[in-house]
């Protein structure tokens, strides 16, 4: 595939172009197959919508929506023409807050998932590649993390560190990586058993070369599917931690809104409009990521037979 030979720059460039072409072809193939998954497309569309909303939030609602001193409405107004989803306890527009909160919730979900998958992939690939004592130790640690109750560990971490978004990202990322590590390691072992790896080694490819040029591209699809699925649980985890009061109270997020609503007594006061929108937003985004992840998985492994 992409064995490099430092003495022949021309040939190298040619091979690179070839590799790029192949990758493009496989991406096209992937998309063609993905397109046949209706639920996957639905999830993707929902995600595109939410991403658009989050990115354009500064233009549509603006950061003023968070201001408590300039809140336009009365506390906990019910939905009206002026405030389509009603107002919160400070009289801020809930629609604006849900839109603004999507930035934090999506960002935290994304970063936490990236962190989690990065740790998992790193440990999985190295453990699969190096074998020996390193692999044993790495997999022992992985197993050990696997038996730790994730939520409990995340709560502990969020308590230990100061209350900030970084803490939440860290708490989620550090506790959810072991599954990825195991999957990636299995895949790495499978890839490294293939004959061309032998050839690459014989041609003088070092550890770094083998891992970055051969193993990584082959585990990438798996990593991609895993990331999509983990974002979904990361968004739920963010909401959970914020709901338990472990989030940053000065930042507007969906989980934080739910916590505010509960603390303000919206549940028993029957102010359902304070409670429903953030929860629906969380559920929809988590569902969308799950649908996409399943579609990707099914493309990679058709035997799973995800409904089309």
């Amino acid at each position: 595939m992409t064995t490099t030979d430092p003495d022949e720059p021309m040939a190298k460039a040619g091979r690179r172009a070839l590799a790029r072409q192949r990758r493009r072809a496989s991406a096209v193939r992937f998309w063609t197959r993905y397109r046949t998954h209706r639920s996957g497309l639905l999830g993707l569309a929902a995600l595109a919508l939410f991403t658009l909303v989050a990115l354009t939030a500064p233009l549509t609602v603006g950061s003023d929506v968070q201001s408590v001193t300039n809140a336009p409405g009365q506390p906990m107004e019910s939905p009206s023409a002026e405030f389509p989803l009603g107002t919160d306890q400070f009289g801020r527009s809930l629609l604006g807050l849900v839109v603004w909160g999507s930035r934090v919730s999506l960002l935290v979900g994304l970063l936490a998932a990236v962190l989690s998958v990065a740790i998992g992939a790193l440990i999985g690939i190295t453990a699969g590649h190096f074998r020996g004592w390193f692999a044993t130790v790495a997999m022992r640690i992985t197993d050990w993390f696997l038996v730790m109750p994730t939520l409990v560990l995340a709560i502990v971490l969020a308590t230990v560190l100061s209350r900030s978004l970084g803490t939440i990202v860290l708490a989620i990322g550090v506790t959810t990586w072991p599954t990825t590590a195991r999957l990636v390691r299995a895949q790495t072992l499978a890839v490294e058993a293939r004959p061309y790896i032998e050839r690459a080694r014989a041609l003088g490819g070092g550890h770094w070369h083998v891992m970055s040029r051969h193993v990584l591209p082959n585990v990438m699809p798996l990593v991609l599917a895993q990331t999509t699925l983990i974002i979904s649980s990361a968004i739920l985890a963010e909401a959970t931690l914020a709901f338990l009061g472990l989030g940053d109270p000065t930042v507007v997020s969906w989980g934080g809104l739910l916590q505010d609503a509960r603390e303000a007594g919206a549940v028993s006061a029957g102010k359902w409009w304070y409670l429903v929108p953030p929860g629906v937003a969380i559920a929809v985004v988590a569902l969308a990521f799950t649908l996409c992840g399943r579609a990707v998985e099914s493309v990679l492994n058709p035997r799973l037979g995800v409904a089309r």
Binding site: V68, Q89, T159, R163, G245, P249, R262, A264, G265, S268
Partner: protein
């Protein structure tokens, strides 16, 4: 599930479990129509039960260890104290003691103990019990955990006769009619080995002489008390009093709506508004005992003069403190954060304690004035830099760390306002919200902090926590101090009031102390939050508030509310709403049964097919 039993016993086990689960759901479904709105306060075997929703966990049922409000409230009901407070105006009234008198040199107090108070096991409560209780606290460190400060100034406590208790003091102390110490029966407590371990929650009923007798307790589930029919002031009107746990405020309010509980406290503004429209529920929005303040770190230090902590240097400047004071709109805090369920803050002690309430005169008053605040900061030498941020002496923009309680929604809400108000001034605010603030607080590692204390009828305690004597002896120790304030003028006044046995004169000195505290700008009392509570009028006919005219019900300084509560007659839940409840409950039960029926039908069909 019924097909894999051929592969081993696990299947059978699972099937059994499934059956058990189904049975459980079935019983639950059946229970529903039979009991749609469970009766609570109504007669149960002719007994009147008063159920109160609480959230705080009991830390200990031993009066020697308990510090939390819920536990001390239960102790008020279980044991008689020497004195009690009048529900009308908070003055001391007889409890276990009928009279009390200081000696001429102010150092000896003699209490006359009543002879009509009996322990629930039939023995007489005497001065001997009281003397033993105080002596135990003075000699056993484990027994001094909760109330050690009450006996710190005691020289000697004796009981010359069963009706006479004598307390000798080291120095004069004006608070001798406000000793909030439960007197326990000596003959029961003598048997305790280790007071630091004994929680008084193993054998029931617990021997006591208060208006109620503790009969059962299950951690975070309930505290159950029955009325003491031979209580000297007269038996309570309810036969049973139950504190039932609802960790979630919404759940407690929902339980009140359904009549599962008779009383709920600590309502949010939204909850109070929603409950006000109900005819069978009375909302009590009463002036509270608490003040809610923003405390400045004045540079933490110990009595030995050692400085510690890292409070911001600019806060040592009185002008800066004043400017911060001026940039807090207390009106908005009351209107928006408390949504009217609070009184705007003035002096240190809430207006409910009218004898000690003080408010600044017009010239002295620090009003909301952001422009004036900016001018003051400029004067003090903290000017804005190019980015519009005020810079400290070290040349860096000022950002104050404000300690807040993560469990307190008000702290977080006011914090948001502070960020915007002080942001306008060019000062940054970083909210440091924690479940447990005591660590940075005691180490002096904060700039400002949200602070609040419940004030007792005798204000000595809340005044004492701002004296130099309350500072820790060394940085390693813990002082009684609130936020490290140490002001000579204030201390001098404090000593004078403690030795002043004339009530009016003492009150006057206390007001001078409040004035001094206000001027220093260390404590910005923003509001006196109301006690927002609600009870079912179809279960409680009447209940004494404290102060009687407009006061709170839960967490009183005394047992008045629960002792005086009278049951309403007539069944609360047998009205129209109850009828609908029964009907809808039955419908729901039928639906559940139909669902289960369908489920089993499907299974049977499946099995039948399998038999082919």
């Amino acid at each position: 599930m019924d097909r894999h039993d051929q592969h081993g016993t696990e299947g059978t086990v699972l099937r059994l479990l499934a059956a058990a689960g189904a049975a459980l759901m079935l019983t639950a479904g059946l229970a529903t129509p039979l009991d749609p709105a469970p009766r609570r306060a109504e007669a149960k075997d002719g007994e009147q039960v008063l159920t109160v929703a609480v959230a705080q966990s009991v830390d200990s049922l031993s009066p020697f260890l308990a510090a939390r409000l819920v536990s001390t409230s239960v102790h008020r009901l279980m044991y008689e104290y020497l004195t009690n407070y009048d529900p009308k105006d908070n003055h001391a009234v007889p409890g276990l003691a009928t009279e009390w008198e200081p000696s001429a040199d102010k150092l000896t107090w003699t209490y006359t103990i009543r002879d009509d108070s009996k322990w629930s096991d039939g023995k007489q409560a005497t001065a001997e019990d009281a003397a033993w209780t105080f002596n135990k606290m003075m000699t056993d460190e484990g027994a001094a955990t909760a109330g050690g400060s009450f006996v710190a100034n005691f020289e000697k406590v004796t009981a010359p006769s069963p009706t006479e208790l004598v307390i000798e003091l080291k120095k004069p102390q004006a608070t001798m009619a406000a000793l909030d110490v439960p007197i326990v029966p000596r003959h029961v407590w003598e048997k305790v080995d280790d007071f630091s371990e004994f929680n008084n929650d193993k054998s029931f009923p617990v021997v006591g002489n208060g208006p109620f007798i503790l009969t059962d307790y299950k951690a975070d589930s309930y505290v159950r008390l029955k009325s003491n029919k031979s209580f000297w002031r007269g038996a309570p009107k309810f036969d049973e009093l139950v504190f039932k746990y609802y960790k979630d405020g919404d759940a407690a309010v929902a339980a009140l709506r359904k009549g599962e509980v008779s009383f709920v406290s600590g309502l949010t503004p939204a909850q109070a508004a929603a409950l006000k429209s109900r005819q069978d529920i009375a909302v009590n929005d009463a002036p509270g005992r608490r003040f809610y303040a923003l405390a400045v770190n004045p540079g933490a230090r110990a009595r030995n003069g050692k400085k510690f902590g890292d409070g911001h240097e600019s806060l040592l400047n009185q002008k800066v403190r004043r400017a911060l004071f001026m940039a807090v709109d207390r009106r908005t805090v009351v209107d928006k954060v408390f949504q009217g369920h609070a009184v705007e803050g003035e002096g240190y002690i809430p207006p409910r304690f009218s004898a000690y309430f003080w408010k600044p005169a017009d010239g002295q008053r620090i009003a909301y004035d952001p422009a004036g605040a900016a001018r003051l900061l400029d004067e003090a030498g903290y000017r804005k830099n190019g980015d519009g941020r005020r810079v400290g002496k070290n040349g860096r923009p000022i950002t104050y760390r404000v300690l807040c309680h993560a469990t307190d929604p008000q702290d977080k809400a006011v914090g948001k306002y502070l960020q915007e108000w002080w942001g306008e001034l060019g000062i940054g605010v970083s909210l440091d919200c924690r479940d447990n603030v005591s660590d940075p607080w005691l180490a002096g590692e904060y700039d400002l902090a949200f602070d609040g204390w419940s004030v007792n009828p005798d204000p000595d305690f809340v005044l004492s926590i701002h004296t130099c004597a309350a500072l820790p002896a060394t940085p390693k120790e813990i002082g009684a101090t609130d936020n490290f304030i140490c002001d000579e003028k204030y201390d001098e006044l404090y000593d004078r009031q403690l030795a002043e046995y004339d009530a009016a004169k003492r009150a006057d000195i206390v007001k001078q102390m409040e004035s001094r505290l206000y001027d220093t700008g260390y404590m910005n009392v923003m509001a006196y939050p109301n006690a927002v509570e609600a009870y079912r009028t179809d279960q409680i006919a009447s209940i004494t508030k404290m102060p009687e005219a407009a006061g709170n019900i839960y967490g009183q300084d005394g047992y008045w509310s629960w002792w005086s509560a009278a049951p309403a007659d007539g069944g609360g839940s047998s009205d129209g709403a109850g009828q609908t409840g029964v009907i809808i409950g039955i419908v729901a039960g039928v639906v559940v049964l139909a669902g289960l029926g369908a489920f089993f039908a499907v299974r049977r069909r499946a099995t039948a097919e399998d038999r082919e």
